[in-house]
Amino acid sequence: MLSKLDQQQYTKRMNNRIRKNSVLQSVFFLSALFGLFVLAILIIRVVTQGFGWIDMDFLTGRLSTDPERAGIMGAILGTLWVMIVVIPVTMIVGVGTAIYLELYAKKGKFQASIQTNISNLAGVPSIVYGLLGLTVFVRLMDLGNVVLAGGLTLSLLVLPILIVAAQEAIRAVPSHLAEASYGMGATKWQTIQRVILPAALPSILTGSILSLSRAIGETAPLTVLGIPALLIPFPNGFFDTFTALPMQIYYWTLDSSLVAEYANLAAATIIVLLVLLFVLNSVAIFIRNKFQHRY
């Protein structure tokens, strides 16, 4: 039997423990909100600073040192051209690698070493890819700092992301689908081509778009390649020099200590870039929700 004193102490301690729990629960909740709070400040800040500068002239104009006349059409086109390189290269190499690893490679040391290698590549800083691109594409293959060199560098950078996503997509296709196809007399490649890939396609596309949006936001490798922000002509092909939206943001941010308006231009360009990323991600989410099969 507890004496009255004991019971009082017991209640007190219990209440303390409960109070501690609820206090820290709010602390945890606030930390979870902290990131969102900063995100909100960031977006509000960028929008208030840059939104007034976005108009047709800004979107379609050429680069200029005069903030009032500067436009980012060249950077938009550069980013689009890079996307045209990155999409097919990463899709073919990424999905091909994923099919090989999941469906062809014998489970063993070799397959495991490729797998380890891919996860190591995913951890290599993007700037190191820039040096690889500078040495191999710009110098060794003598492409110069053109769309193709930039696109290939960024492709290598995001490849690990897409490979892992495609592998997961292929793994998620239930084996009875493939078995039914084999049972009908289909060969392995026929099964892959007509059963497994179509079933995995929505997830692969989602992964592909997400890796693409990573690629077009990257700046560091491009700075290493020596992508200029000069008054160069618009890029018209894979072998033209180009600039891209993140590069434009970079230069304008750096120079904002010289010309204050450049900060506003950088903010306006950030809005354009974020809208582009938002559209891409929305498409990815739409594809995932609309077409993903549930087995």
């Binding site: 995100l39 190191v128 560091a220």
Partner: protein
């Protein structure tokens, strides 16, 4: 009778044709069956080639650099003056800048990321989690250049308004912003680790009269410890390799200092400065790029290997 026989032979002919046709098709399919794995193998080897390419470029150019600058001088001296008359190449100021920015970032991202993970995994209702998690992922999807802009044009002036000694370019502001950028990574990896702790363990603890908080700290976190540590190590690796935020907001001072109000250069920022600048191919400063990049590569590789080792070695199996 005759008619029937004719029909049979006709049928047989057609069947023979079909069989022949099928055989033809089959041989096409057989050829594909042989070619496709070879093509896929070539595609898969591109990732290996990438690794070899990185190692080859970094090593050959770095070796060239170490022929000109002794390796011990590179790693032990604190003077970095690549452009002066009498150039000095000591990498310690860059390593120092990298470590300090990483520490600042982890002081933000570690606790806040872990506490977010605790909230999401242990306290949040399903509804709240389904809203919060994607929003946190948005934070991870923002390009680093945007964070750089934010650090330089917003966070630095904000810090300077309360702490005027802070310089216009300093390591503190990009460190903090980098921490914010890493929060979602640590939160989501730690949450995964905590989610994989079986509910039976929680229920056992709660049934003994422990509060949720006690359950979290005495049962869930110890059980998920390897995953949480791995998420921290990956966060560190991410901070070491982060480039644009520090390049923009921390300037290019190569002083060896521990004063966080000052500009410091990280390894990544040095690479941007030198490669974007006028370093002619073949000059010592050009080769120094690769020596620094090799150091950076080894740092991040070690961190990634460590993360994998920790999460494998110390995983508690249930």
């Amino acid at each position: 009778m005759a008619l029937k026989k004719e029909m049979q032979t006709g049928n047989r002919l057609r069947i023979n044709e079909m069989i022949a046709e099928n055989k033809n098709k089959k041989s096409m399919a057989n050829i594909m069956e042989k070619i496709i794995p070879a093509i896929l193998f070539i595609l898969a080897s591109i990732t290996i080639l990438t690794t070899l390419g990185i190692l080859y470029t970094l090593l050959t150019e770095a070796i060239e650099f170490f022929k000109r600058v002794p390796i011990w001088e590179f790693f032990t001296t604190t003077e970095l003056k690549p452009l002066s008359q009498n150039p000095k190449f000591g990498v310690l100021p860059l390593i120092n800048g990298t470590i300090i920015s990483t520490i600042i970032a982890m002081l933000i991202a570690g606790p806040i990321g872990l506490m977010s993970a605790i909230y999401l995994s242990e306290y949040a209702s399903d509804k709240v989690r389904r809203v919060l998690k994607p929003l946190l992922e948005v934070l991870a999807g923002i390009p680093t250049i945007v964070y750089g802009f934010f650090a330089f044009t917003f966070v630095t002036p904000l810090i300077r308004s309360v702490w005027p000694e802070v310089e216009a370019t300093n390591i503190l502001s990009p460190g903090i912003v980098m921490g914010v950028m890493i929060i979602p990574m640590i939160a989501s990896l730690s949450e995964d680790a905590m989610n994989s702790v079986p509910n039976a363990m929680r229920e056992g603890s709660l049934a003994m009269g422990a509060t949720k908080l006690e359950t979290t700290f005495k049962v869930v976190i110890p059980a998920a410890f390897s995953g949480i540590i791995a998420s921290f190590v990956l966060g560190i690796s991410r901070a070491i390799g982060e480039t644009m935020i520090v390049t923009i907001a921390s300037g290019s001072s190569k002083n060896f200092t521990f004063d966080i109000t000052q500009s410091m250069q990280t390894m990544t920022a040095y690479i941007v400065e030198v490669s974007g600048g006028e370093a002619a191919a073949g000059s010592t400063i050009y080769y120094s790029l690769y020596a620094v990049a090799l150091t950076l590569f080894v740092f991040t590789l070690l961190m990634n290997l460590l993360a994998r080792y920790v999460s494998r070695k110390f995983r508690e199996e249930y």
